[in-house]
Amino acid sequence: MNKQEYLDRLMYYLQGLPISELEDIFSDYEEHFRMGISKGKSEEEISKELGDPMEVANNYKTIYGYNDTQNMDNTNYSSNDTKRLLVTIGLIAFNIIIVAGPYLGLAGVLLSFYGVGISIIVSGFVVLFGFPISIFTPIPTPHILTSIAFGIGLLALGTLGIILSVYLTKLLYQLTIKYIKWNLELINKLGGLENEY
């Protein structure tokens, strides 16, 4: 890291401190580099000896009570809180108006898949055993082999349908979790917690 990179990074991690302090800190490190260079050290060498800019920045932040997220949160608690509330309300409205309809529709389709799968399996049993339809309705019973083959086919088809539905349910579940996480992240991000280090 050369001098410019080091100072850039340090200033980046110090964001949030008062400008006058930043200028002061900046000039201290600029001076340090100048002195080091005049003693024949390279910029890279000096950067290395100074140590990780993030750590140095954290040292400063400790002094001003910006050390951890907790403190950050407390210092501008009210403004963060309002912002978070607004973002949350916005998201809820968006979800109810835009997302909820298609989502419920999708869940309904999935539910009907289960229904179709189960009814195909039931019909497979019916065909397989010719019961109870053959008792109540005077329809001509097909040949026993036809019934067995057709019944097994229906059973397989129904099972496949159920398996597919279970798979789709899992997918929907994962997407839902991801979507909720994304929502929460959005609240944190737009709600002013983005400076947490």
Partner: protein, 105 residues
Amino acid sequence: MNIQFKKGVLELCVLSLLEKKDFYGYELVEHISQYIDISEGTIYPLLRKFRTEGYVTNYLEESQEGPPRKYYKLTERGMEVLEELVIEWESFIDGVNNILRGDLS
């Protein structure tokens, strides 16, 4: 070494050096890192902390090369803190040495 421990020791070293004479930042860093392996960048935040807590004050003094240097001077409050830290340090070192020597009495 444990970072918190090192920080404490560093505070002691800086205050103790400033008791002997006024230093400017680079000079202080150079002097300390001659004896102890530290991240040099941690001295400046420490000096700032001392200033906000009133242990040291700043003044600028012209130098032959380059712009004026920022010197640090120990205040009376700083002197008191140093005394306390020295007492703490010595009793700590005594304690550790006793353990190392293995006196179980």
